[in-house]
Symmetry: none
Subunit: 408 residues, 2 copies
């Protein structure tokens, strides 16, 4: 069931319990032909196996059946926000993805460099997929030579990868429902940004963005390939209901990579600074702030990175490194510990995938099911079955006695 926050909000009760959500990015995998075992099934994980034995297991669907999620939507789902319902603009996710710290007055857009002909008709929507180095140079050029200062706005142009960049406009009174400039086919000119909200701030914002686009295209006009650009997914931080407001929990995020700090911040979690980038550094940070928060999101990135590299063995070893810090988490005596992934990233596919994600719940109030080890196939027999990822926080609220009885 996809979580409806309205069902929970009147039931929330506060207490001293502690909930840990330990996310191994891209945890789920597919079996090796030689051994028939997945990455998680291959890893030596005595501590995770103990948790599986003592707790309840299942498999989670991040977005919908068959759908491969990006990291942003996948994490929103883990935090109980259905990514289909809570539509976060691509610009916002792209900005989060490069670690740009978005503020409440920021409008973000995903930019694509493009090639146009002498008549301004699009020849290549991706400017021949220019190199990332080229993208960096072009963004610096735009940053230096475009400005909305006379209108009272700051502009940030940041490279992403190949032909993709992020534009952020910062200042008061931005908003509206803004259309994209990309006609999505070649042979046509880029479109002007229009506002579909009919609000004064929408009209103002559309005009502002079009003004910047005109400047930017003038700056690019002599470039051999990237002589134009398009903007897509223009949006502000959607102002999601905060995790604290919905669930009455002070939430801390412990993550190494910017994107995950960004998405945690988007739901109002506090990002904990710490030194180092290994799982034991993250658990040290957890221990340090243990008394200050109720809910702790810990993000392990490298499981996904190795999956995307197709490096089965390195993914196995990273899972083992996480297993090794589990005793340190248990030493803090959490009331609920969830171990899961945001999605699967099978080394065999070298990419995110739609396969359901092995998930375990552990804690004094969690029913021990018949699962004896932590793995994809073991979790198929788990008590939690196959479920939407937005159910995780609600189950944890139950296990930690943070929900009052529903009805008399």
């Amino acid at each position: 069931m996809i979580t409806d926050h309205n069902v929970y909000k009147d039931l929330i009760q506060k207490n001293e319990s502690k909930i840990v959500l330990l996310v191994m990015d891209g945890l789920g995998g597919l079996p090796l032909d030689t051994t028939g075992l997945t990455e998680l099934e291959s890893a030596y994980t005595p501590n995770l196996d103990r948790l599986a034995r003592e707790g309840s297991c299942g498999r989670s669907i991040p977005v919908r059946p068959g759908i491969t999620p990006g990291s942003g939507p996948a994490h929103l789902s883990l935090f109980s926000y259905d990514p289909v319902r809570f539509d976060i603009g691509r610009g916002v996710l792209e900005a989060l993805g490069i670690g740009f710290e978005l503020g409440p007055n920021d409008l973000a857009a995903r930019g694509n460099f493009a090639t146009v002909d002498a008549d301004g008709l699009i020849l290549d929507r991706r400017a021949g997929r220019i190199s990332t180095e080229e993208c960096v140079r072009l963004c610096e050029k735009l940053q230096a030579n475009t400005s909305l200062e006379d209108e009272g706005y700051d502009v940030f142009v940041r490279p992403v990868k190949e032909h993709r960049f992020v534009l952020v406009i910062r200042g008061a009174g931005l908003g509206g429902e803004l259309t994209e400039t990309d006609p999505l086919v070649t042979g046509k000119p880029p479109l002007a940004v229009r506002d579909e909200s009919g609000t004064p701030e929408g009209a103002h914002t559309a005009a502002l963005v079009n003004k910047w686009i005109d400047q930017a295209r003038a700056v690019l006009k002599d470039e051999p390939r990237a002589n134009s650009l398009n903007l897509r997914g223009l949006a502000k931080d959607p102002g999601l209901p905060s995790f604290a407001a919905m669930y009455g929990m002070r939430a801390a995020a412990i993550a190494v990579y910017p994107m995950y700090k960004g998405v945690a911040r988007l739901v109002g979690m506090e990002v904990i600074p710490f030194e180092g980038d290994r799982p034991h550094h993250e658990i040290a940070a957890l221990a340090r702030v243990w008394n200050d928060y109720d809910f702790f999101f810990i993000h392990i990135k490298k499981t996904d990175s190795y999956g995307e590299d197709g490096n089965f063995e390195a993914k196995v070893h990273e899972i083992e490194a996480v297993d090794a810090v589990v005793p340190d988490i248990l030493a803090l005596k959490p009331d609920v510990l969830i171990v899961t992934g945001d999605h699967s990233t099978p080394a065999r596919l070298r990419s995110h995938s739609y396969h359901p994600v092995p998930t375990l719940f552990w804690g004094p109030n969690v029913m021990p099911d018949s699962v004896e080890t932590f793995g994809e196939r073991a979790c198929e027999r788990g008590a939690l079955g196959i479920f939407h990822a937005t159910e995780m926080v609600p189950w944890a609220l139950g296990y930690s006695d943070r929900l009052a009885r529903f009805g008399a």
Copy 2:
């Protein structure tokens, strides 16, 4: 989760992959008292067992828990159209059910012959369940002696079974939301058809139908039992979004019985003509058109027919006949093969039932789960769990890499 097409439509990407949906009608069964095994569990199915061992299994719910579906809604569900949301008029389903080829200008109604007294009050809403032969005679009589030609419309009256028939009115400008004539109790007169849409075409159509009803009742007035009639479920082809438009796949339907060709046509599949009526004839047709389509719906009817006859053994043998053609399907190298039923038809019940339907997915990207054989109880432990039938096409889209990543 019931499939929401809106979530998928922006993610569709085309490729060369091939998806086969092999439907054994009424596949699910109940155990024999003597052996404790269902029809599927009793059948010798080495090929299906291999697919189960190498793929993922589960059980599907066609409409909602506890609900026994008719063939029309059950197939809509398999094609990913929730039959609760996509409400197909009974008249349309009844017309499809007798193999009537509905066009876009056709209004179809389900008709029931009825008995009325001298005052026109209904004595028997089913005209004493007249025989099907009698129904045929009455329909021919109505066809010969009623007409809307002076209004510019064609009329078709076709027998279904016992007191049931189909009326189709063909011509431009039909529509509206039309009420039924059956008061659903005896002792009252039939009602006139009214339009509830408030549109000019609705008012026009209601008047046209009432005109035909008056003619028809005059033709029937001296019949001993079927001296009147009622019309229910008056509707046009609902114009479902086509399978091709939603999923970017050219879909072919290979079926022997008209009803299944009809429901496939309703979602825009192309019906493949072929000689013969056995599973191997259907697979020969599949091989012949393999290069021309992306998605193949293959319908096996007799499993259901034998179930409805209460013929356990014949249903077992038909399942075995389907098992025997599985290697010919695999020889075509499908990227995803789904084997399922549209609903259960346990020989013990001699009717369709609400029991979840054993289902398997096979293909290179399908996670092999712990299920070793294809059967109701084996599928209970499958990776796909218990799921709504509308999830099948979405999972197949995932397994065949036909969905772009959701979000950044």
